[in-house]
């Protein structure tokens, strides 16, 4: 088997770029949310300061092995999601470790971090963490269902399980995007997207005003810093998948930055407009609005 070792430094470079972009973009989105509430909002570099602060805390306590592994799983879920799909289409440097069946692996990695978090938070023994995890798993499972259906629909449409091939099929103008060739699947996926971005109306899991604050209740200092790093990587990685499947992919970093920002802005826009759902409300919402669309998209294809 020939493995190109040069891919490893390139992968590090991809992660480095995405971490920095993720930190700045999430801060910018928070600022936009604050402006919608007529506040000035956090400084744009606040995420970096918070992370240095959390790493610089002198003491930390543990609740066992799984407590350590929870944030590690979460981070590896984010990084794995990012590295196993092509970040930039047609670029040797940033295609990373994508391969013929990477779509299935990506679907798996989307869920992987959540499961790791569930194990870690469960080990912490805090009742709020346990309740938060059960809420989170039910909501995320429900939100993933339409997304999985949309992915099947797209895979059927292009007759491939390779993200690279799917992007390749969408090249040559905006009207070739899945958004226009299979709008029902994209709609179902975008509704599911709202559910997995942990923004209102689907942020009951980690909202500080609910059971404080769900799964990460017991996480602190460097554990929390690792999770913060993942909170910068994971949304970008997830949006990169969406972009590749439905919005024509990106052929360069500026295009990627713009598309990822706009997609994230979509969830933020919905978030500032609508109040928070309880878990059973959001589950019902996904069942009523998103899942039928997903089924329809498969049937139409």
């Amino acid at each position: 088997m020939d493995f190109d070792w040069m891919k490893i430094p390139y992968a590090f470079l991809t992660v480095f770029i995405v971490v920095n972009y993720g930190f700045l973009m999430t801060a910018l989105i928070q600022k936009i949310g604050a402006r919608a509430g007529r506040r000035y909002g956090i400084p744009i570099w606040q995420n970096y300061i918070d992370m240095i602060k959390n790493y610089s805390l002198r003491s930390s306590i543990t609740h066992g092995v799984m407590f350590y592994l929870g944030p590690v799983f979460r981070l590896s879920g984010g990084v794995g999601l990012l590295l196993f799909v092509p970040t930039i289409y047609g670029s040797y440097m940033f295609s990373n470790f994508s391969f013929a069946g990477d779509l299935i692996l990506a679907l798996y990695f989307v869920f992987f971090g959540t499961l790791g978090m569930a194990l870690g938070a469960g080990e912490s023994g805090h009742p709020h963490a346990a309740i938060g995890v059960s809420r989170g798993l039910s909501q995320v499972s429900m939100a993933e269902l339409p997304f999985a259906m949309a992915v099947f629909s797209v895979a059927l449409q292009y007759q491939t399980l390779s993200v690279t091939d799917i992007v390749a099929a969408q090249q040559g103008g905006m009207l070739h995007w899945t958004l226009f060739t299979n709008p029902i699947a994209v709609t179902a996926a975008m509704l599911s997207f709202l559910g997995s971005m942990m923004r209102p109306p689907f942020d009951v899991v980690i909202a500080p005003q609910e059971i404080p604050i769900g799964p990460p209740t017991e996480y602190h200092s460097s554990y929390l810093a690792v999770m913060q790093t993942n909170r910068a990587i994971f949304p970008v990685a997830k949006i990169v998948i969406y972009m590749n499947l439905f919005f024509g992919g990106a052929t360069g970093w500026p295009e990627l930055f713009l598309k990822v920002f706009l997609l994230y802005l979509f969830s933020a826009f919905v978030g500032v407009c609508f109040p928070r759902f309880r878990v059973e409300q959001s589950v019902r919402w996904f069942l009523v609005w998103a899942v039928p669309l997903g089924i329809l998209s498969i049937m139409v294809v």
Binding site: R39, K53, L57, S59, P208, P212, T217, H220, S221, L224
Partner: protein
Amino acid sequence: MKPELMKRMVKGPDGLEFEVEPLRDYYCEAPPTVMPAAYGKIVEDLFNWARSESIWILGFGTGCGAIEMRPLMTPRFDAYRYGVQWRPTPRQANLFIISGYLSTKTLKRAIRAYEQMQNPKYVIGLGSCTINGGMYWDSYNTIKRLDDYLPVDLYIAGCMPRPEALLAGFMDLKKLIRAGNGEGANQYAENFAWYKENQKRVIHDWDMPDYNW
């Protein structure tokens, strides 16, 4: 001591009998240790700067002064632009604001919350009640001097201080932290016996270990 905190035998759903001792099982009793600044001056300066610019407050309003903290999240005062955020769990918080009078019942919870916070941690006494008892100076059920029970970094005087005074207090706290003087956690560890003696003098139903975590 409450009955549910006593040592006892419990029969599990699988028929196995095992011993439960809540005070030992649910808490870690290791006393706090002094954790000095471990790195060189340049790194510690960077860390102190980051600590001062990212102050996470424990969202625990202990008295009437908590009403002055809420406006800080609103558009009028917006403390977020100074790196100040509220965290709902003591594990993630760095700053504990004792907002106004502190009844002995709340003191017990305040101690537990404080001890769950991670080193370095800071305490602000808000309002004159935390300095000398304020208008509750002759109350049988509130403490008079907060500094006897928890190491206070900063007082914000007034009854009540306005949100602007709180913002000015945050700025002063930032200067303290940046100068490397925000060492309340180590002070607490050094004088642990003295603090515990004071705390136990006012809390009569002491049904928890000396150190919670």
